[in-house]
Subunit: 156 residues, 2 copies
Amino acid sequence: MDPRTAAAWIERIEHLWHGQLPLAAAMDARITRLDGRILVATAPLAANINHMGTAFGGSLQTLGTLAGWAATLITAGDDMRCHIIVRNAHARFHRPVTSDLVAECALPDEAATADFQRRLARRGRALLRVEVQLPADDGLGVEFRGEFAAVSAPGS
Amino acid sequence: MDPRTAAAWIERIEHLWHGQLPLAAAMDARITRLDGRILVATAPLAANINHMGTAFGGSLQTLGTLAGWAATLITAGDDMRCHIIVRNAHARFHRPVTSDLVAECALPDEAATADFQRRLARRGRALLRVEVQLPADDGLGVEFRGEFAAVSAPGS
């Protein structure tokens, strides 16, 4: 993915998060890295803290969901108008996150992306399994696994 | 649980949510029912909407987490000072939620509660598995399952 395409994706997704998803706006979720291999979403600790001074579990799940949602949208392709719907979300909490929240989502490689886009074009829907890691200071904080469906929008 | 005890729990938990959990405050999460059998948490659609006009998946997971967290705290008992930590959270999304978000969490019966409190007193920690249902207008919207650890706080 060239840097210009990546910047356009980030602008489009953050615009949606901050304009149409009040919870993502309240979390101040951002995309801080996007290339052909990885998408990284972040959110400041202050807006996502709990009463113990660590990152709130709901915020960690939500950031994983936002990262997986964005990764699925990008995998569906730039010119494809479709909806992305979360079907399953599983978070395993290993250790507390004590600084800003970071969600690292590996993107499918070129072959898997092409296969996903082919299924979406043929059947009008395709399912993507994503794995998101949310690091803590001293190791893995949270493992998040999600299944997201891309569904062709009517008229697209 | 008598109504006075229930009201005191609700006040204590909502005070914490709205004072120390910015995300729960942004969601405007509340407890609308609590008796010996069930805890119901709710949040208005407007603060938790997505760009498709339905409840955002991150809000649904977070409300399930808040309900399960509260149910575990209450199961640990009124006089027990302990921390409640989410260990696992799994949400399965069946159909979109198109009105205010509702999370119904069954509470353990008296025998299971006594057993949980005994384990917590003996070992300093105990694990509770909770099931939370989030209804849609036309059936089950989201099934949420969580595992929460109660851990005795130092000095308690």
